[in-house]
């Protein structure tokens, strides 16, 4: 946007209004629906037969469902980074990315809640958490912060959308009747008066301030689900900061991927420019280095002491049965992206996209490594346990459900991008006007 100050208001509106999907978009959507349906069928089997369809057992009671949960919570943190932290620090260049970040946050947090319910053998007992919940229990903290973060993220998505809803209502010929009814229901009262803008701006600022501690809480609490237990790999005072740094990294990686995809398929090159990739690239390098630093803390310090209780766990990661995934997560999830993005040429859209994909995939496996290997290394030796309890590989139902939830997250983002403008229209116009006003009169509308 900063590179193209000569865009007219109409042009911006035409460019940024939601577009109908082409053939590729439809294939993408139906593929996601198909994966979700397989996941739903697998969940139906799990509901009817019980958790016996999974490969979880007495030892590995948290498998890929909980890994997925930690992943979702992590990626959802990006909403607070891009929207709140950047907005409060007046980083205007990030405006086109705010809605992408917020929708990633909302969809991820929805599926984070769902996957927890899926992990329960008896989901109907979820109600007991509210009826008999104890404030001392970390799971209660998690329920509270997830629901709070969800509501705040939803508000942060909705309030900046109001001016855009007015624009979409105005251009109703661009949308179907159902969508127009939806826009009217959600935003027909927005007149764009100075008073409304004033209240809205103030509310958004309050939201941005509130979401930061809540976002930090949500992932700190998630880390405490592990760190409040005395187990190899989890017994760490560093866990909150370690989780938050990892969350910012995967979230930023996710935004980079989404930026590239929306830019390419929605033809948004004028709005998501190379400058955005350059700046996001620098942020991702910093976050990768930060996360790498915490990883060194988390693994090398216990490895230096090599306490007998932790030895099997650490050796399993460094050179044992989890070594392949461990080094994959470290190399693909951190070191290679750092090597790509540290150079200026690496901060171009395509290399950034590749690095973003690496970060997200590496982060998913990293969450698996945080959850499962610890469970396979209890302090007391595993005696008289069936042979299959000594190892864990998810059943097809677990894979299908986990992939179904990941596809579900992408589907929510996809539907959102089809229904609403993925780049805030009104804010783009306002910033365009401000940029023009800051230019000398002769340079305006060149």
């Amino acid at each position: 946007m900063e590179n193209s100050p000569s865009l007219t208001k109409d042009q911006i509106i035409q460019d940024l209004l939601p577009q109908k999907f082409g053939k590729l978009g439809m294939i993408w959507t139906y593929s996601l629906i198909f994966i979700c349906l397989i996941g739903a069928f697998a969940y139906y089997r799990q509901l009817s037969k019980g958790l016996v369809v999974t490969n979880m057992g007495d030892y590995v009671s948290w498998g890929i469902y909980i890994s997925n949960f930690v992943f979702f919570v992590a990626i959802s943190l990006v909403g607070s980074l891009i929207t709140a932290i950047f907005r409060l620090s007046n980083m205007k260049w990030a405006t086109p990315l705010t809605r992408i970040a917020e929708i990633i946050a909302v969809s991820a947090i929805v599926f984070a809640s769902l996957i927890i319910i899926i992990d329960m053998g008896r989901p109907d007992r979820m109600l007991n958490l509210f009826l008999h919940g104890r404030i001392q229990s970390p799971i209660m903290w998690d329920v509270i912060v997830i629901s709070t973060y969800f509501v705040i993220s939803l508000l942060l998505l909705y309030l900046p959308l109001l001016p855009d809803l007015k624009i979409m209502i105005k251009f109703k010929e661009r949308s179907s009747n159902i969508l127009n009814k939806l826009y009217l229901f959600q935003g027909s009262f927005w007149r764009g008066t100075a008073e409304q803008f004033k209240i809205s701006e103030r509310a958004i600022t309050i939201l941005c301030i509130t979401i930061i501690p809540v976002a930090f809480s949500i992932h700190t609490v998630t880390s405490w689900l592990f760190a409040t237990t005395y187990r190899p790999g989890w017994d760490s005072t560093n866990f909150g900061a370690y989780f938050i740094s990892g969350a910012f990294l995967v979230g930023a990686g996710g935004v980079v991927v989404a930026m590239f995809v929306f830019r390419k398929f929605y033809k948004l090159e004028k709005y998501i420019t190379e400058m955005h990739f350059e700046k996001m690239g620098r942020i991702v390098v910093m976050l990768s280095l930060l996360y790498l630093y915490f990883n060194i803390n988390e693994y090398l310090v216990p490895a230096f002491k090599m306490k007998s209780g932790e030895e099997a766990h650490l050796k399993g990661l460094f050179s044992g049965e989890f070594a392949l995934i461990f080094w994959f997560a470290i190399l693909i999830g951190m070191i290679i992206p750092i090597l790509i993005l540290v150079f200026k040429k690496g901060r171009k859209p395509l290399p950034m996209f590749i690095a973003g994909i690496m970060i997200v995939i590496g982060a998913w496996f990293k969450r698996y490594l945080i959850v499962t290997p610890t469970l396979l290394h209890p302090f007391l030796p595993m005696q008289d346990a069936p042979a299959e309890f000594h190892h864990y590989f998810p059943s097809w139902e677990e894979w299908a459900i986990a992939m179904g939830t990941l596809a579900g997250t992408l589907l929510v983002i996809t539907f959102f991008a089809r229904i609403y403008p993925i780049i805030p229209i009104q804010e783009t116009i306002t910033e365009q006007d401000e940029t023009c006003m800051s230019l000398p009169p002769t340079k305006r509308h060149e």
Binding site: Q136, I152, L155, F189, T193, Q196, I199, I206
Partner: protein
Amino acid sequence: MKKLKINKYIFLLLPFLFIALTNRVSAQEKEEAVELVKLNYFTVNNGVQYLILENSLKKGRNTEPLKNKVFHFYLNSNTPENLIGKVSTDKNGRAKSFLPPSLKAAWAESSNPTFIAVAVGKEDEIAAELAVSKSKIQLDTLTTDGIRSISVKVMQLTDSVWVPAADVEMKVGVQRLGGILSAGDEETYTTDSSGTATMEFTKDSLPGDQKGNFVLVAKIQENDLYGNLLIEKTVPWGIAVKTDNSFFEQRTLWTTRFRTPIWLLIMAYSIFIGVWGTIIYLITQIVKIKKLGVAVPEEEI
């Protein structure tokens, strides 16, 4: 000149190469693998008899368990009618089989049963054989003048008559999580000519279960004649362990929610109310925006 230099390095390397090769050959000579098959017989409380086979490969100083090896167990002779069972070794190289009811008559007839293990695929040779004398073990307790003692009697079947078994070594004591805590000061006890071993129970003040019970055991291990025998008896000789509820009424992090520390409740609820209060305030702001919008006619925009 260059050629000479290369030759010099080869000469340097030759001694190392020689040592490495000769070591390897001698190591191969030493490490001839031998397959070991061992049968063990167990009786628990004179009622349950079973066999455990251990199969391993001995190579030099190392012994590695052989897994997934299939064996047939037989009683007295390796004929199909005497088949005890077909077993497969686990990852520790062990396989277990109980005596089936079909061999009850054959078992009752014999005073000195022989167990035979034959590897599947090598039916012509006997992999392991174990002959035992049929035996039984009894454990009695006695309290005289407040002194508790244990008497263990071992009998063996000879010509259809139960006779005392002398000089049988065993462990007698209390079954604890990590093993057997000896009843007296000795590590093991041996039966006398009457087949009896008597010992004073010196372990006072041992914690039992909630009723003060614990399990006394007498265990004969890997005896050449009798195999492995175990007898158990529950006695109320322990101290009843009661849950210490003395701290229950205190406000601690792990007690029920009605006893949560007040400072924790105040902190948690004030954060909760603070954040949700802000959210409710923001929702009222949206309602305010809506009211403002409804008040302004659409054409005025």
